[in-house]
């Protein structure tokens, strides 16, 4: 009897193993475990078994059924998995085909430059404002300690509207307007367009952008200027860049200074970008001239301050490494899309 059970299990397992489809497997199940199946038939022969042996026989048949059932399940799952895998395999797509993009545009590199610079000053407590581009001679020059016939004013460089009105040559007139319009302390940054009567070439543009800064308060010192602008330079250009201040001249600041940062390309050794100086000029600055404070009715013995200005084109060109300013105003999308 045992032999028959074992033979049956052997047959069943082989049938299960060779079943290649869900139907074949079901067929095997019915043939073995079904009501008319072989195992059921075997069970029916219980009567022919010696009563003493019956419990053992029963257990043997049950074990065989469990075994077959288990095997059916295993096979069924394996088949399902294979079926699923086959299905997924046939669902494969070409993931290297381009995706559906919603095309987006870009901000002009000068806008991005202005944003990057102003954000740093905003974090230092400056407010970003804008001012008029068509200015009076008074605000652009006279109130900035640059009276008529001053050597710093050259008629060649200025676009005039009439004797009193011009296109601002710098963002500095906003220093005066801002101080006139508010009580100290003043902390503003002013980005905007400025105009110089230079024909367009690789290094000149009649229209360009500056960012002006002004801080006026009690007891502001040259050391504060150095600290603020050094912090800006380190944030904008990186902590490893060296910073230095050189004496310079602007009519509306005294003392005046230009700030250089060490050249990133050569690390200060000297290269084409820094004109072999190892340093790159970044901005002009200085302590607000007492005459400017007087012009807006601030008392220069009570209040001091510093101002600075930088050219955005230059900053952007240095950052991205191109040397023709005209690219910024051609509006060639192949250029604009790079930023």
């Amino acid at each position: 009897m045992r032999d028959r059970v074992e033979a049956l299990v052997e047959r069943a397992l082989s049938a299960i193993d060779s079943a290649e489809s869900a139907e074949a497997l079901e067929e095997a199940r019915v043939r073995i475990l079904g009501r008319k199946g072989e195992l059921t038939a075997l069970l029916r022969q219980m009567k022919q078994v010696d009563p003493d042996d019956r419990p053992a026989f029963g257990a043997m048949v049950n074990a065989a059924r469990d075994r077959v059932q288990q095997e059916l399940e295993r096979r069924g799952q394996a088949m399902e998995a294979r079926e699923r895998a086959r299905k997924l395999e046939s669902d494969t797509i070409d993931v290297t085909m381009p995706g559906r993009i919603r095309p987006t545009g870009d901000l002009h590199p000068l806008t991005q430059g202005i944003r990057e610079v102003t954000q740093i000053f905003v974090q230092m407590g400056f407010t970003v404002v804008e001012g008029p581009e068509i200015e009076t001679d008074f605000y652009n020059f006279e109130a900035l300690n640059t009276p008529p016939f001053h050597p710093a004013r050259d008629v060649q460089d200025t676009f005039y509207i009439n004797d009193f009105v011009l296109l601002r040559t710098q963002t500095s007139p906003m220093q005066v307007r801002q101080m006139e319009g508010q009580d100290p302390p003043v902390r503003v940054v002013v980005p905007g367009k400025v105009y110089r009567r230079d024909p367009m070439d690789a290094t000149h543009s009649p229209v360009f952008h500056q960012i002006e800064g002004l801080l006026v308060d009690k007891d502001v010192t040259f050391a504060d200027l150095a600290g603020t602008l050094t912090q800006f330079a380190r944030t904008f250009y990186g902590k490893d860049r060296k910073v230095r201040f050189r004496p310079h001249y602007f009519p509306f600041t005294e003392p005046s200074a230009e700030m250089d940062v060490s050249c990133a390309l050569c690390g200060g050794q000297g290269c084409r970008v820094c004109k072999y100086e190892g340093w790159i000029e970044i901005l002009g600055s200085g302590m607000v001239h007492p005459n400017v404070l007087r012009a807006v009715g601030y008392d220069p013995d009570e209040l001091t301050g510093f101002a600075f200005g930088m050219g955005v084109e230059r900053i952007v060109m240095l950052k991205y490494g191109f040397d023709d300013v005209r690219l910024l105003y051609e509006n060639d999308l192949r250029f604009l899309e790079q930023f």
């Binding site: 559906r100 545009g105 901000l107 002009h108 000068l110 806008t111 000053f121 905003v122 407590g125 400056f126 970003v128 804008e130 008029p132 581009e133 068509i134 200015e135 009076t136 008074f138 050597p151 008629v155 676009f159 005039y160 509207i161 009439n162 004797d163 009193f164 009105v165 296109l167 307007r177 902390r187 009567r197 024909p199 009649p206 229209v207 308060d217 502001v220 010192t221 040259f222 050391a223 504060d224 150095a226 600290g227 603020t228 230095r244 050189r246 004496p247 310079h248 001249y249 009519p251 005294e254 003392p255 001239h289 220069p300 001091t304 105003y329 051609e330 509006n331 060639d332 999308l333 192949r334």
Partner: protein, 815 residues
């Protein structure tokens, strides 16, 4: 300014290498922009004596010169075409294998069968001057074999300095030497000024009258007799050339040399041409004329200062001399002028005459009256040493109101408080003294020091205590000042306008637009090209008085020309699709500009409105594996505006047909919010497209940013989320073609009342199936109530009402 180092060393000892020197000057405020190594091209150049000069056997043009080039050297044979070399002449020669000042290498060359072992040199080939007319003849003091490159100073390092306009005193060798002496703690040596004088006093020979003391502060003159015609010594020519001044003649070179040395322009008049030997410094008469040295006749006006004699004009003061009184080869006696003119006068005259000279560019920055006599003495001394003239005794010097030196009073504390560094009274005094200031320090009971500083006459730029702060700081070292962060607790931020611009830029970039940046100019012809009517208010533009080019002569009143130009650039470069936008300004005159009067203080002279503009053209989207290519059309541009408004949460923007330039009359819409026109969007008029050479299917828009910002500021309120389901029903109809979709939507909303949650146009059809002049529109309507689930009956009722209204009010044939 160009400063040859060998020349500079006459006045100050220099131990630093040129690069260190450049750095020291730069860091104290005299920026060195470069170092020019002049004469570095000269190789194997020496002096030779012409032992024999014989004609070339085969050429009339050439001669053969045998040169003694010094002991222990074999004589050399050189072929030359120059005619000015005779036996016994000392001449410069470059030996074969050597090179000229411009680096050109000279080899051994055969001329008609005769080998030349070198080449005799002109002044130009040596870098002495521009003279290339013959071989430079060297003085007898030069011996064959001498290293003339060194002894004549032909090789030098020349510093190229940027002198800021406040420091005219540094426009000369002595000025730069003074800076250097202060930085390096060396002594400054002033140039020798003594010379033998003849017994005849200059004051007996000439008379000076200053009739305009407001424009001429000081006028001095010397009389030099028996001036020698011809050239100045080679060393002087070489120095002038290195400094960038062309050598001309002995007397002119000396005046230029002294100007470069002391920053005092000098002018030499031919004494015999000065009527009654009297100099009159006066304003020109109206219409007075003078032929200046450059040969052009100048008309002068009464604002201009001139130098005249008893009868006529001789020179434009501080700008240029007259041709008639110019010194010539026949001049025996020279009247040498050294003067101090008002800077504004020279500035104005120079610009009115459009005549800028070395002298005028110095005078207009303001010069030191104290250098008038020393410059005359120095010139006399040089001429005498060169054997080029004999000075009569003394100077005629008219100085109507001498100025006392300025004294500035301050304290060490005041200076320290401005700097934010405590450097102490001694350090302050030391810095200033080194620069030539006289410093008197006096202690006070509170421990601070009173400082009285006497400003030297050449430092007119130092006027008040703050100017001393800079002088102290730059000598002490800007980078010695500590870096501190200013006190203050205000938090920063962006102005509302600026922040709004950023928001709009971001929204449009997200919608696929790239930001352009254009010049805010336009031209008169743009108005015609855009099709603006003759009385269009946009034609009232602010005109630039001195534009660079006509295309940039107006401040723009519209952004369209700039947008079309940007488009054209991209179309020309074969770009398939273009969507550019810009937030720029347009400009309109105020009353003050129109009237040409000065705007009141505090006012802005023009009305500057920020405007958003955009242009779209070409392949809008598609051309991909998933979507066919589609060209931008009106609805893309409109969609950009609608998307922007959605992004800014501006509800209730409507679009209505607009007929206005530069648009296609049937394809443009006014953008309206709350009854206010925010801007316009549309396709350009075909004629405009033609004028600007862009495709006809070009879309443009302009939106006023201030109005848009106002619209964006309407408050946003929370609406509770719907609790009950919505029901969607479609309605399709055929209408006359000119019934606006917006009217259909409005009719639906009106008829459907509060239950209409949203209306969406989902299909448009025009074609034979609906008939000529008609089109079919299909809308999907969402019905919803806030307080209940709508029943079918309710929805049917309202939907029927909508259909009825459409048929009744718009003549819709419902399908």
């Amino acid at each position: 300014m160009r400063v040859p180092l060998r020349w500079l060393k006459d006045y100050v000892d220099i131990e630093l290498e040129p690069e260190q020197l450049a750095d020291a000057l730069t860091m104290s405020g005299t920026k060195v922009e470069g170092i020019d190594r002049v004469g570095s091209g000269l190789r194997r150049v020496t002096a030779g004596r012409a032992v024999s000069v014989t004609p070339h056997p085969k050429s009339d043009r050439l001669r053969i010169v045998i040169l003694d080039i010094g002991p222990r050297q074999a004589p050399r044979r050189v072929v030359t075409a120059a005619g000015n070399v005779a036996e016994g002449c000392i001449v410069p020669v470059v030996l074969a294998g050597g090179s000229l000042v411009d680096g050109e290498v000279i080899g051994e060359v055969e001329f008609e069968g005769v080998r030349s072992e070198g080449m005799l040199l002109s002044a130009k080939e040596l870098g002495v001057s521009e003279d290339n007319s013959g071989i430079l003849l060297l003085p007898d003091s030069v011996k064959p074999g001498d290293d003339i490159v060194a002894s004549l100073g032909l090789r030098d390092d020349v510093l190229e300095l940027e002198i800021t306009p406040n420091r005219p005193d540094c426009l000369c060798m002595v000025g730069v030497a003074r800076e250097l002496a202060a930085i390096t703690r060396k002594e400054l040596r002033m140039p020798a000024r003594g010379c033998p004088e003849s017994l005849q006093p200059a004051r007996d020979l000439t008379k000076i009258v200053i009739e305009a003391p407001d424009l001429c502060f000081r006028y001095g003159a010397r009389v030099i007799r028996h001036v020698r015609p011809g050239q100045s010594p080679i060393w002087m020519q070489a120095r002038l050339s290195a400094a960038g001044i062309r050598p001309i003649s002995a007397v002119v070179d000396v005046t230029n040399y002294v100007m470069l040395e002391l920053n005092q322009p000098l002018h030499a008049f031919d004494y015999s041409r000065v009527a009654q030997h009297t100099i009159v410094v006066r304003r020109a008469q109206a219409g007075e004329r003078l032929v200046t040295l450059d040969g052009s006749e100048r008309e002068l006006n009464t604002d201009m200062l001139l130098i005249g004699d008893a009868e006529k004009a001789l020179a434009v003061a501080g700008v240029m001399g007259g041709l008639a009184s110019e010194i010539t080869e026949n001049t025996d006696t020279v009247l040498l002028e050294s003067a101090c003119f008002a800077q504004q006068s020279v500035w104005r005259t120079s610009r009115t005459l459009r005549l800028r000279t070395e002298a005028s560019s110095r005078f207009e920055k303001g010069l030191d009256p104290a250098s008038v006599p020393p410059a005359l003495d120095r010139a006399a001394s040089l001429l005498s040493r060169m054997g080029a003239g004999e000075a009569c005794s003394g100077i005629v010097d008219v100085y109507p109101s001498p100025e006392a030196p300025a004294v500035i009073e301050t304290t060490d504390r005041w200076i320290e408080r401005r700097l934010g560094a405590g450097l102490g009274a001694d350090e302050i005094a030391d810095c200033l003294t080194r620069l030539g200031f006289r410093v008197d320090t006096q202690g006070t009971p509170d421990g601070s020091a009173k400082i009285a500083v006497t400003v030297p006459s050449f430092r007119g730029d130092v006027r008040e205590p703050i100017d001393l702060v800079e002088e102290v700081a730059r000598i002490w070292g800007y980078n010695e000042v500590p870096a501190t962060i200013p006190q203050g607790t205000d938090s920063g931020g962006y102005s509302d306008e600026y922040a709004f611009c950023e928001q709009v830029r971001q929204a449009l970039a997200g919608a696929g637009g790239s930001e352009a940046l254009t010049f805010p100019f336009m031209s008169e012809t743009d108005f015609d090209m855009l099709g603006f009517a003759p009385d269009d208010p946009k034609r009232e533009a602010i005109r630039v008085a001195n534009p660079l080019v006509e295309e940039q002569s107006l401040m723009r009143t519209t952004m369209y020309p700039a947008m079309l130009a940007a488009l054209k650039t991209n179309v020309n470069r074969r770009r398939r699709g273009v969507f550019l936008y810009e937030i720029g300004r347009t400009y309109a005159p105020t009353g003050a500009i129109t009237a040409g009067i000065e705007p009141a203080r505090g006012e802005t002279p023009a009305v500057e409105r920020p405007v958003l503009a955009g242009v779209m053209c070409g392949a809008g989207e598609g051309g991909t594996w998933y979507a066919p290519e589609r060209q931008y059309d009106f609805y893309d541009a409109k969609g950009a505006i609608e998307g922007l408004c959605a992004c800014l949460h501006i509800d209730g923007v409507t679009f209505s047909r607009a007929e206005c330039p530069p648009f296609h009359p049937g394809r443009a819409a006014a953008i309206v919010w709350d009854g206010v026109r925010l801007g316009t969007v549309g396709q350009v008029h075909p004629l405009v497209a033609g004028s600007y050479q862009v495709p006809e299917a070009t879309m443009l828009f302009e939106v006023d940013m201030a109005l848009l910002m106002e619209a964006a500021q309407s408050p946003r309120e929370y609406a509770p989320l719907p609790k009950y389901p919505a029901v969607e029903r479609d309605v399709a109809m055929v209408l006359e073609r000119d019934v606006a979709s917006a009217d259909v939507e409005r009719t639906i909303r009106t008829a459907g009342g509060a239950l209409v949650e949203s209306v969406r146009l989902f299909d448009v059809y025009e074609g034979p199936q609906v008939g000529e002049g008609r089109r079919s529109l299909a809308f999907s309507i969402t019905y919803q109530a806030a307080d209940r689930t709508l029943t079918d009956a309710e929805v049917n009722q309202v939907h029927d009402a909508v259909r009825a209204a459409l048929a009744q009010k718009l003549g819709a044939v419902l399908r």
